[in-house]
Amino acid sequence: MAEGNRTMRGRILIVDDDTALSEMLSIVLRNEGYDTYLCATGDKAVPAFREFKPDLVLLDLMLPGMDGIDVCRAIRAESGVPIVMLTAKSDTVDVVLGLESGADDYVVKPFKPKELVARIRARLRRMDEPGPESLTIGDLTIDVAGHSVKRAGETIQLTPLEFDLLVCLASKPWQVFTREVLLEQVWGYRHAADTRLVNVHVQRLRSKIEKDPEHPEIVVTVRGVGYKAGAD
């Protein structure tokens, strides 16, 4: 069904057990020009993902069958596609658990449709500002146009968000980025006070690119301010 519709701005897989909410989400997103596909259980989520090949996944954290966290890990294991969690819990533990399992962003219910659409747009937007073709930070070579990161010829797999985060830091080495600035530049929204997003993603990025994530050398914490890219 998706083949014929090239005017769509993107394909979104909605994994939620609440049919009313799924349908409403579908209406709103289709209204915004997205193609949607619904999935009601966690068990069917991964097959649906393989079949539909979405540009973005909206994932409820609490699902019958396979848990949302497990679905998130399963999808992340085979793809870097942006995942936005829908959660009814805003407690730090739940949020951090979701982010650590691979989600790029989260929206707490009840959310405003506009807010959700803004986040989806931000995730589907590529960093379109022209930058240098390639960057070097530490012993990493970043091919900005080709979206790949290499260490000594070996490619390191990063999700698009992690890639954007790394490029953002590496494009201005030695400049310290506050978490708020990173939220604005990488996630693409202002006034989002939740800096847990940044913390968790920096941890995830470090676990992939740092030789010793306990003693990071590429993404360095500047106490009380934020992060910067640096290599000694």
Binding site: M24, L25, P113, K114
Partner: protein
Amino acid sequence: MSTVVLLLVGWVMMSQVTDGVLESRRGSAQAEARAQLTSLSNTINAADPTTINQQLSELVLGTNRPGLYDVLLVPTDTATSNAIRYTGLVDSDSIPQALASSVMSDDSKLWDTYTLINYRDGPSVPGLVMGSQLRVNSTGDRYAVYFLFPLTAQQETLDVVQRALVTAGLLLVVLLGAVAWLVTRQVVTPVRMARRIAERLAAGKLEERMQVRGTDDLARLAVSFNKMASNLQRQIRRLEELSRLQRRFVSDVSHELRTPLTTVRMAADLLHESRDQFDPISRRSVELLQNELNRFEELLADLLEISRFDAGAAALDLEDVDLRDIVNRVLENHESLLRRKGCEVQLDIPEPCRAQVDARRIERILRNLIGNAIEHSEGLPIRISTAYDEDSAAVAVRDHGVGFRAEEAEMVFSRFWRADPARARTTGGTGLGLSIALEDARLHGGRLDAWGSPGEGAYFRLTLPRRPDVTLSGSPLPARPADASRVVSDKSLVDVGAPYQKLTGGEQR
């Protein structure tokens, strides 16, 4: 203590035995001495005066009973013979001076005393000396006759008694010690164990119990103690279970209520956006639906937050932030409200004011305080100040609106309390904002103080420890605004925000 008693008893017994032994010996010695003295006197007076000296020597030797006593005959100054006669090599200096003069002063009485008897050929022994005068009628000479009874046998008896007493005493002391030790083990040890276990119970190790041995009072104490511990454990478990259920309930409610609300919200938004196509009645209905949904959402969010505090499920997510950044962010968020109210903001935030806080919660507190101030500003400027000292950082928000009475300063933090019920519904808010702000401040170990005066406006001061290990003592900002009129009584300042003892759980509430 027992040693002292034993010594006393021993001393009394010893002196009684000594007195008894010596008295009986003295009695028999006196009888012996009198008899000897009488026969001596008779014999000497019947003798021929010319051989008196010879006779005396023989008599002295004759009265001697070797081993029982010795005899010493000392002539007085008036005697014709000045030889001292004695038996058994007793030394004449064995006679105490006091006895000698007593004997000299009285010629009929038999004197006695206890002393040491010295021998010329051996060691001195304790003994009893009896003395009296012997008058020789024919010459008129007077002699002092002494009978020296050695008390060696008595001394030995007393020594044996004394040794027996000392041995018995020592044994008694040892036995008493052993008994005391046993009693200690029987009584004190269980009491100590009870104390130790009570301490462990207090420390939260609820499964601790005392050992029950025997059927005495201590065993009953242990049984009661264990019963108490079991009851405590059961109660605490039940409370924990209740608290867990409540948390679970809050979590379930949040999920169950939020999901349909999200759907309703989205549907309403969709309708709201296309309201211009509706007839007036439907349009107004959609507007009302939208507004009330906003209120409902806010109320639900606040209620969930409050129940999270009540369940003790709220946790801090500390980071080092500059409070000024939060103030600025909140002001940006309130831009449209500021414009609508025509309210001017005066900022007194001169220098970075850093503290380790949960930025999300502090932003929520300040959003509430500043939002309230703008709402009640009545078009007059509001003032926001920050300050810090070594241990604490503070933010104060001042408005010059209607204010509130001093008695109401306590109530502003109460849930669903409104200063003026009549106008409450128009100003919005859920009525939970300040309660949540107070809980947030307490969670940090900080405090939130309110000052108000009718017609003068209100002043809220938030004080936070700069590090989580600090206990607040004061605040770097004054308790009431500098421009407050002086007639206001101290009662207008109410400290509701007594800081939590940190990390002690929910029971201190």
